[in-house]
Amino acid sequence: MILLRPFEAIGSQILDTAFKAGYSLTLFLRSVACLGGIFEKRKSIASQLYICGVQSVGITLVVALFTGMILALQTGLVLQRYNIEGFLGTVILVTLCREMGPFMCAFILAGRVGSAMAAEIGTMNVSEEVDALRVMSIDPVRFLVMPRIISLVIFAPVLTVFTNFVGVLGGSIVANLQIGVEYSVYFGKIFEYLEDPKTTLEIFYGGLFKSAVFGCTIAVIGCSNGLRTSQGAVGVGKASRKAVVDSFLFILMLNYFMSSVINRFFY
């Protein structure tokens, strides 16, 4: 019997994961079904845009600035060895727009906003506020979940654009001061690269599409963990932690699959 225990644990973990995934998917589909009420919920969406989005701008931009600088330093030193440091701007732009920008924003939003969503809805759940909504015939998905998903789907791409912009700027400073690349060369190569409309479409819109998907994933996972919260304060802490871990995992997995699809589409 003892020998079977690890298998039982693995089986129970698989069932639990399948249940969580099913619940989150159902929540997403129910939120899509509530989209008809989007105009009525405009105030709530605006408030979520501020709480989840605007308040995340500062920290995201600081991270973006330093990421751009690190990228410039590490990549610049390698490119310098082959005397092609002039392409540093292009390398940073492509890296940020295709992968790093959406990815970084998603991680920051998952840690800052996804966990807060799980904790907030989880607290409401354990203090019977979600039940109170149900009793008042107010659908918690339409009232709580849908505005949060919409706000992150809108704001994650916006935040990604800011991140990319600030990252490229941060990279230009290091490229100029430490690698010795003139600003005109750095930005000139970037504009040259962007002359091909297909490239522009791929690196910008591909990244923005990814961001929107990540935003939706973070909100769904955060709300789903919140709505399944039980056991008081301990449960709220657990829901918040799970929201971050699950979001990170899904972002990583989705990023791979979306990158594959986007690359196949454009090349």
Partner: protein, 268 residues
Amino acid sequence: MHILLENVFKELGGRQILNSLSLEIPQGQTYCIIGRSGTGKSVTLKHLVGLLKADRGKILIDGINMVGFQDRQLRGLRKRMGYLFQSGALLNWMTVGENVALPLIEHERQLSRSEVLRRVREKLALVGLQDAEDKLPENLSGGMKKRAGLARAIIRDPELVLYDEPTSGLDPVMSSQIDEVIRDLQTELGVTSIVVTHDMASAYRVADRIGMLYEGQIIEEGTPDEIRSTTNPFVRQFIQGDTKGPLTAESSTDPFTGSKKTARVKDS
């Protein structure tokens, strides 16, 4: 609303909470459910609004069996009900006024802002919270939260109001005021009310009938006078608050008859 529960069973966390519970409440009556903590009083209320689903049995509201209803089917029914939660369950980011107005804003969109405000103020005055309209729930005492919850529960003049311990945490004067609100709703609007309470003074004041829940069943039911003069040792111990008696001892007494317990076949 006419309420009928027939042989309702519910198990939670491996414990049989409702055990063939049967109960009938005619329209316009105020029914008090009394009983010790953990005997399933709140669970009974939650079954009536569909927050919990019965394992077996029938719950008929105006003749419609709601067991097995999904949230979507329950919505129409819930719009005719009000529910006062033990904690008040106010939404923390909204002011008291916004909390009370919420059901109107969500379901009666045709109402003007001034009409919503008028009705909110009327209900807040009814529960003695006319000065708390702009306060956030975090700035209210437990009793005030409960009264705000009551104002929200009755804002749409429901046909059935479920009260989960409406007077716990309130001072005696405020308790009497809340009891008056419950009675007024019944006499003026013909509202059916179910009140879960430990507060016997309040139960005697508001109830048309009182039922005592024990081990998931109603073991005694009657008018306040009948309950006061009951000979059932379980009910007597509860209403007198005695520390010694069948409720606190492993008893071999049958809670229905007060006689020595024999094997009783439960309905299924």
